[in-house]
Subunit: 269 residues, 2 copies
């Protein structure tokens, strides 16, 4: 089974393109809504939440975990990879993130070598996009901007209201002033405001979403690793887990994915 | 020692008037910022968080706890009072909330018997203000309105920006249409936007803040209960505990209270 882990609902923007591209596999989605949003929490706490999620998912027999959350990926992915994938028993396990696929795509797209990144405070403060991009091309300038109000606005369904547009415009002022030609949406919630991003940035700035590039990257990965792909169950099952109210989780998820799901299981981490 | 418990920073608007009115006592302030904001969480989760906080504070020898958080008060106060104050060993312990003082004040103030309440989703959905007010006067109409974006806006320091004003104006439309003459700020964060509330509501609607009425009510309570008052330590000490980054907590608290504090202790609940 392939598991996606997110702080709450944001990872659904990663699950959706994955389901479209690779519908045959079984998926488990864990949203830690009971402690969302992660974005303003300390690195230490996000690491602890991520460890708990990974331990839970491995205990359920999951072999491949995707951190479908930029905040968890940027603060904790390397940490959990080092902690949980070193032993002999763990060689058939894998944890992937959403950062590298988006960073690689942005490098491929940029012409003027100026890339912007928007995300939560934790993601932007970690400077992980800058680090990863500069590992591959040290001449690229990366400009990060934290947009901490976007997740609460989106979780409230205010993404199309004029106040949200105005707040986003203020957040994007620095990005525009830095003359970037490519912008990474470094938070899996932000695609839910894609129209606003496009209206504010115009056609000259190319926008990179984590979801689609991660789905592509997962497909490539499975093609290259038959030893992992062969072990995955393929019945098209979808299972949802949450640390908060399952009914609310079901409603939001069905609306966003446009499909019926069975009642999510409420778990404690 | 008297302890104040809040989901994060909001309870500081209760601590401030208490320190002004009753500076002689020792205080402990516990802000569960690591899991804030509570307002969008399920009742079940908030109850669990409240139990953990109460158990922690009693284990530290605290005798009197004030739930300086409307969300915790409205969903969990009765529950923790029933769970932790029934035994023989527990007769010298007390847990107080911020709801009753505000409800009593509003009843005293209203002339047309129409009272509005604003708060988080959890507080408004609990209908606890309505219940408490109607226990005392069943002819009073209570109109509740959840304002879930205010806490994130305030935590980001956006309280004076035009977008926040505009969002608040939308939230208060129903309240104004219901022709109330009194409004309870049913969230301890909201006094940080008091000017905006006043500008939108005008002079005809009287605004009730939890902090000041709770401080008054605590003073009255201690005067009436010398058996508890006599056991409280009186050295004017202040201790701060947080479940998230202590340095950030220190900075915010010092700025709001206008005084230096020693580094908060980071704890796990």
């Amino acid at each position: 089974m392939i598991a996606l882990f997110d702080s709450g609902y944001g990872g659904l923007t990663v699950l959706k393109p994955i389901l479209k591209l690779l519908p045959e596999y079984d998926y488990m989605y864990l949203g830690d809504s009971g402690r969302a949003p992660y974005g303003n929490h300390s690195t230490e706490n996000i690491k602890m939440f991520s460890e708990q999620a990974v331990e839970y998912l491995f205990s359920k027999g999951v072999k491949l975990i995707i951190f479908a959350c930029n905040t968890a990926s940027s603060t904790s992915l390397r940490h959990v990879q080092e902690k949980y994938l070193k032993g002999k028993d763990e060689q058939d396990r894998k944890i992937l993130g959403v950062l590298i696929p988006a960073a690689e795509k942005a490098i491929e797209v940029t012409k003027n070598k100026r890339i912007g990144v928007v995300g939560t405070k934790a993601t932007i403060n970690s400077k992980v996009y800058e680090t990863e991009i500069n590992k591959l091309d040290k001449d690229i300038k990366v400009y990060g901007k934290a947009c901490p109000l976007l997740v609460p606005l989106i979780e409230e369904g205010w993404q199309n209201k004029p106040e949200s547009h105005s707040i986003l415009k203020k957040y994007l002022r620095d990005i525009k002033n830095n003359n970037v030609d490519t912008l990474i949406l470094g938070c899996t919630h932000y695609p839910l405001m894609l129209k606003n991003f496009k209206r504010i940035l115009g056609k000259k700035i190319r926008i990179i979403e984590s979801g689609e590039v991660t789905a592509q990257s997962l497909k490539t990965y499975l093609g290259r690793h038959p030893e992992i792909e062969g072990k995955l169950s393929k019945k098209g099952k979808k299972e949802f887990l949450t640390t908060d109210d399952p009914a609310r989780f079901k409603e939001f998820t069905e609306k966003y994915l446009g499909m019926k799901i069975k009642m999510p299981e409420k778990i404690s981490l």
